[in-house]
Symmetry: C2
Subunit: 213 residues, 2 copies
């Protein structure tokens, strides 16, 4: 017994919580986008972060907790972005529709185009949501309730905006959401053949008419 096996590894970095959690979210996002939540393994996430599974569990508690923290993070980023885009106080999707009633159609169209442009710049996040949205159709999926609520919220907001330009605003809102989701899938499957912004623009002309840009 010339040399003892080291009882404790000190070659790993000890990061401040915020930074480590950001890293965990980032790595997990990539892996869920690739394999979904059912196909995700704590081991892979831990490896991607340069720590052990136990170290990872210290931060997130459980696998479900891991998913939760990813969703919470995205939620927070979205809120931040919306606030920055539309000004601090004005929440376009839930605000008073009378404010933008006069030019409602152009507003709605521009907002959708902005979302398409924004999404086109972050395929990984879009893919995370695409994969989780399908997986969470199953009621027992840990993100099922989250995605149901998220979709209802988006539908309600869009319906409000669509009221000024359609007799069936909810169906129009559903169509807009469906088109956007479907085009994103096509774009993720074959990014070269299907440019998200361009295809949305084309669809937009059919939905909103050839009049306003």
């Amino acid at each position: 017994m010339a040399e003892e096996v080291p009882a404790f590894r000190r070659d790993r970095l000890r990061l401040p919580v915020a930074q480590r959690r950001r890293q965990i979210v980032q790595v997990t996002t990539r892996l869920i986008a690739e394999r979904g939540f059912w196909g995700l393994s704590m081991q892979d996430v831990a490896d991607g972060c340069g720590l052990t599974v136990q170290g990872l569990l210290h931060h997130v508690g459980s696998k479900d907790g891991l998913l939760l923290s990813v969703l919470e993070h995205s939620e927070a980023e979205d809120a931040l972005r919306l606030a920055a885009q539309f000004g601090a106080g004005g929440d376009t999707l839930t605000g008073d529709p009378a404010d933008n009633a006069p030019q409602g159609a152009a507003d709605l169209r521009q907002a959708c185009a902005a979302i398409a442009r924004h999404n086109a710049a972050q395929p990984e996040i879009v893919r995370l949501y695409a994969v989780l949205a399908a997986e969470s159709l199953e009621p027992r999926h840990p993100a099922h309730a989250y995605f149901l609520a998220r979709h209802r919220r988006a539908l309600a907001g869009l319906t409000e905006l669509a009221k000024t330009i359609s007799d069936h605003p909810q169906s129009l809102a559903r169509q807009i959401l469906a088109t956007m989701d479907g085009l994103q899938l096509q774009w993720l499957r074959d990014p070269v053949a299907a440019d998200l912004v361009r295809e949305w623009e084309a669809a937009s002309e059919v939905i909103f008419g050839r009049a306003g840009t």
Copy 2:
């Protein structure tokens, strides 16, 4: 040693191949729709069929083989249905477009409506495809190539049909596919709130115009 442990279980049924394979496909379809392919376990499929994992492997060879046989089965059913719907010889999606050029728009619209109605009657299959389509965005997914090819085929066929009614037939085809896929997701997530046939009808009016029924 009064009584030997039975060396072989004979309480399981021995089914003819065709019947057993049909059962395997059916059970697997349900389970993939619930958990995706990454979340699927051979054990669950075997249990659902009333045999052991090894018995299951005897029929499908491997987990990938299991997925393959499910896709092949669906493919065959689709082909059968299309043949029955449009007559033995006429493949509408790949046939000579000149044949249906005059009333192309109405044809296309009716075909889509028929698909919506057909899909509304088999949520389990639709969900299978929805989940696998998202999961297989990953290039390493065993069904990646299958879904890419399938989508390109559908897009090409629809584009052909759309040539008579649009200057940008491929974009219109993409929009139709996207809308259908997106509405299906909404319907699967909340079947009570979103009726597939009704919402497609509404979207159809926006896409094809209020003229023909």
